[in-house]
């Protein structure tokens, strides 16, 4: 901590205040970054950097300007302010941008680590990752493609704005990615797993990556050996928590982002099936009344955890779909002002050189009252799609597809043989309207949410319980 030059950041803000502005903010990030990459049993590279810089965002004459730099001098600070101010005024918008009202906040927050990442020697990190690869390669299963990486970010931030906010924070984000290819009888199958927490090195211990990846390898081998194709047609589809999570993220979290709804992302990340004057809006039914999906940055130690967003707004749980009805959009201060409401703290930037935009944090379906076992036992004929491989969704977030990775046939309430890559291709409305059973236990997966240009890969959790979709088309 203490590596950000707060005096310089304050200097930039004070200089911005001397201009004819409606609003100004400065945000500094200092990120200690480490990444280890183990490729097929060898440490490909160990990357260790410190990235430190600051940005200025100015609202003037109803236009927005943003400038950033990693040069920490007063001259540079003035250049950034002048540049952002000039850009804002050049926008010459017909409908002026304004921000929803907020009061300044002066606070500090941090995520504590049980095992401080800074105290873990590089040798130990390397050894622990190499052990995972060794466990994978020493099995009888042939895994010719193995890549495991472990990126760690320790980020100190300092945010100030012209309304009196001054917020300091420190968040350690630890993550791991693994991609494996199992080959059996010349046939390859592949699995990808991501892990992530806002925590110290204790997260790495808790993930039990070795067992998780060995399970994936065994399942891939079993699919190659025993997997059978699905008889296409309508059937009950039981989705594991990973599948519930990705569907919650893609077909609830994304379409509910207010910048998308208002068209600000129209050319890249796209729009939404929810739009002003359209058939879907707050209060419209989108799913069965047992469906409630929230986005909640306050889940402790989650990958998407934060206490204040990057506009200085206190984080809170947001109800996106509530009892099957579209309930609340994700807002920053700009979108909130446009729709006559208050920001709900959804504005995030992945670094100092990125504009804060509307983002999800941890999006998940709330639990129901079934047990996982009861759901399976209640299916006469169906498919259990525990995890997924290929997936995608259109840029209105309505037409989506998920392909099963670990999947089994269900007959008379029992799991039978593995099913090779079952596919559900359906609409958001059909998916959430088909949910007729939800289990009691929510589980989370770490993911990187893509949005913004240049791309801002934001850390998030996706999650939920096991769910059943009644009578949906699976092929």
């Amino acid at each position: 901590m203490g590596t950000v030059d707060k005096d310089l950041v304050d200097y930039a803000l004070n200089y911005a205040r001397s201009k004819k502005i409606e609003y100004a903010e400065t945000r500094a990030h200092s990120t200690e970054f480490e990444q280890l990459v183990i490729k097929n049993g060898t440490l490909d590279a160990f990357i260790s950097t410190v990235d430190k810089g600051f940005c200025v965002r100015i609202l003037a004459d109803g236009g927005l300007g943003f400038a950033s730099s990693n040069k920490w001098t007063k001259d540079e600070a003035r250049i950034l302010v002048d540049r952002a101010y000039r850009s804002a005024r050049l926008a010459k918008r017909e409908d002026k941008i304004s921000f929803a009202d907020e009061k300044g906040v002066d606070t500090k927050w941090r995520v504590t680590q049980k095992k401080k990442i800074e105290d873990i020697p590089a040798e130990q990190k390397i050894a622990e990752l190499m052990e995972i690869d060794k466990a994978l390669s020493s099995q009888e299963i042939k895994i010719p493609g193995r890549i495991i990486s472990c990126p760690i970010r320790l980020t100190e931030k300092y945010f100030t704005n012209s309304e009196g906010s001054a917020i300091s924070s420190f968040v350690p984000k630890i993550a791991a990615f693994a991609f494996i290819t199992v080959v059996e009888n010349g046939k390859p199958e592949q699995a990808y797993k991501q892990f992530g927490r806002s925590a110290g090195w204790e997260a790495f211990d808790e993930w039990n990556m070795t067992e998780t990846l060995l399970h994936e390898a065994r399942i891939l081998q079993r699919i190659i050996r025993e997997g059978k194709a699905v008889q296409p047609g309508k059937t009950d589809l039981v989705c594991g928590t990973e599948v519930t999570g990705i569907a919650s993220h893609e077909s609830c979290g994304h379409p509910i982002e207010a910048d998308r709804i208002l068209g600000r992302e129209m050319s890249q990340a796209g729009r939404s099936f929810i739009y002003p004057g359209g058939p879907y809006w707050m209060g419209t039914r989108i799913g069965n009344d047992i469906v409630t999906i929230v986005d909640d940055p306050t889940v402790k130690n989650s990958y998407g955890y934060y206490e204040y967003d990057d506009e200085g707004i206190k984080a809170r749980r947001r109800y996106l779909y509530k009892d099957g009805i579209i309930d609340e959009f994700l807002h920053n201060r700009e979108t909130a002002a446009k729709l006559g409401t208050r920001s709900n703290g959804s504005s995030r930037a992945t670094n100092y050189d990125r504009e804060a935009i509307v983002r999800m944090a941890n999006t998940f379906l709330l639990p129901g009252d079934w047990t996982d076992k009861e759901i399976i036992e209640d299916v006469k004929h169906g498919i259990f799609m525990k995890s997924f491989t290929e997936w995608n969704i259109d840029d209105r977030r309505f037409n989506q597809r998920y392909v099963g990775r670990e999947a089994f046939l269900i007959e008379n309430g029992e799991l039978k043989h593995p099913v090779a890559r079952p596919i559900i291709e359906t609409t958001t409305k059909t998916w959430w309207s088909s949910v007729d059973a939800i289990s009691q236990k929510v589980e989370f997966d770490a993911a990187t949410c893509g949005k913004g240009d240049p791309m801002q890969g934001a850390p998030v959790y996706t999650g939920g319980p096991v769910i059943r979709l009644k009578e949906v088309y699976v092929r």
Binding site: L43, K52, M130, G145, Q190, D395, V403, G450, D453, Y473
Partner: protein
């Protein structure tokens, strides 16, 4: 020697003094500007200035890397990096970095792209062009992006050089209705060739044709791919040609060198040429970039290499070194001899797909994938566009698609947008037969 090059060299010398076997440092002074617009108005203008030196160091085959910002704390950072190398683990597959003194082409950057006087005028030119095509009610959004970078590279193994890279890109998506849109891009390395109205016109033309879309039907179609769509596919195949992708099985090209992987008319090359928004004169080892034909008349000829992967595959580097792994720069597909219209005339009943996004694989090794066409999707009947369609997904196989290409146009476009067509490419209109389309049920 410029001051920046001298400072970069000092970093390399520091690493060598400490005992490193090889050190390479690349300093980039980057100036990027972006103006985002939607609903026909400017949303924000963003400016990034970046002063950074990427450093990679090898000691006893232990490879470590770091960044130095604005030449600050050089000694401390390199000492820390060297200590990290000492406790790191040997990479037996590390084969060193490019050795020797090389002669580079002269950079051809456009200095006007360091700071545009009024970026909005280019945006409004494109929006007006879209309006002219599709009517005043068009709702357009997009991004104008300019990049300029001075790059100074010094390697302990001999390479030393300066590159200046510039690019300007406009991406515009025009909506004539909420579910009818067209997308156009204009990508150049200099402002003199940059015509924003071309992108706007194309976006407007497609948006106009896309009005009143009907639900598409599932089935196999002959498909004309627009260069913007096919740029996404070229990016996918180019990335799969990297030796790194091959080694971790993220590729349909594993164990296929010398084999037929595409139809005879397919020739693909990687070429970071002057026109490209990803132009450069050397790679990140300081090796001069070159044109690499990786698929020649349907046959896989080479993977894309850095020095290390080249040694593993018993060949020479292709000048595709990134700091850690080889990467494609700019994929070109050779043109055919027919016009776009002649290509359309070959289709009795098929589809014209103008753009796509969200390309995802079930299995990178087998190539099973799907991607979602966006913007105009059109039914072609006897060479004519008959109907705008929606809600279709291309669900096929990347290797099959390469083999089912039957013709390409002589017109080509340099395309790049967001992460969907990245790296950039030079793509023709492409005709492929019997491609599977699916729809939600």
């Amino acid at each position: 020697m410029s001051e920046a090059l001298a400072k970069t060299e000092a970093i390399v010398k520091k690493g060598k003094r400490l005992g490193a076997d090889e050190v390479i440092a690349e300093t980039t002074f980057g100036r990027s500007r972006q103006t985002r617009f939607s609903n026909n108005q400017v949303d924000i203008t963003v400016a990034w200035d970046n002063y950074v030196t990427d450093v990679a160091l090898a000691w006893h085959k232990r490879v470590v890397a770091t960044q130095i910002q604005n030449f600050q704390n050089i000694d401390k950072t390199i000492e820390r990096l060297f200590r990290l190398a000492k406790v790191s683990k040997e990479n037996p597959t590390y084969g060193g970095i490019a050795k020797g003194k090389f002669t580079y082409a002269t950079p051809t950057s456009d200095k006007t792209l360091q700071e545009l006087e009024n970026p909005s005028e280019h945006i409004f030119e494109a929006v007006e062009a879209a309006r002219k095509e599709a009517g005043a009610e068009v709702n357009a959004g997009g991004i104008l992006y300019t990049k300029y970078a001075d790059v100074y590279l010094v390697s302990s193994e001999g390479p030393i050089g300066h590159d200046a890279r510039s690019a300007v890109e406009l991406s515009i998506r025009a909506f004539s209705q909420i579910d009818a849109s067209g997308h156009g891009v204009e990508c150049c390395s200099s402002l003199k060739d940059f015509k924003p109205s071309r992108a706007g016109e194309k976006a407007g033309q497609i948006a106009k044709l896309a009005r009143k879309p009907r639900q598409g039907k599932e089935g196999k179609y002959d498909i004309i791919f627009d260069p913007l769509f096919f740029g996404s596919m070229l990016s996918t195949w180019g990335t799969m040609a990297s030796a790194f992708s091959v080694m971790i099985q993220l590729s349909i090209f594993v164990n296929k060198l010398g084999q037929k992987v595409a139809s005879d008319i397919v020739t693909l090359r990687d070429n970071p040429a002057e026109y490209s928004v990803n132009n450069r004169i050397f790679d990140e080892e300081g090796y001069p970039v070159q044109e690499n034909v990786f698929i020649n008349e349907g046959v896989l000829k080479t993977y894309l290499h850095n020095t290390s992967t080249a040694k593993i595959f018993k060949t020479k580097t292709t000048g595709n070194a990134g700091l850690v792994q080889p990467a494609p720069w700019n994929i070109e597909m050779d043109p055919g001899d027919k016009t776009r219209d002649e290509l359309f005339s070959q289709v009795k009943r098929g589809l014209y797909l103008t753009n796509t996004w969200y390309t995802r694989f079930q299995n990178y090794a087998t190539g099973d994938f799907s991607t979602i066409p966006r913007d105009g999707i059109f039914l072609i009947d006897h060479g004519e566009i008959k109907q705008s369609l929606k809600d279709l997904r291309l669900s096929d196989n990347a290797l099959s698609l390469l083999k089912q290409i039957t013709d390409t146009s002589k017109e080509r476009q340099h395309v790049h947008w967001w992460i969907e067509a990245e790296p950039p490419s030079l793509a023709p209109y492409v005709l492929a037969r019997d491609i599977q389309m699916t729809k939600p049920k």
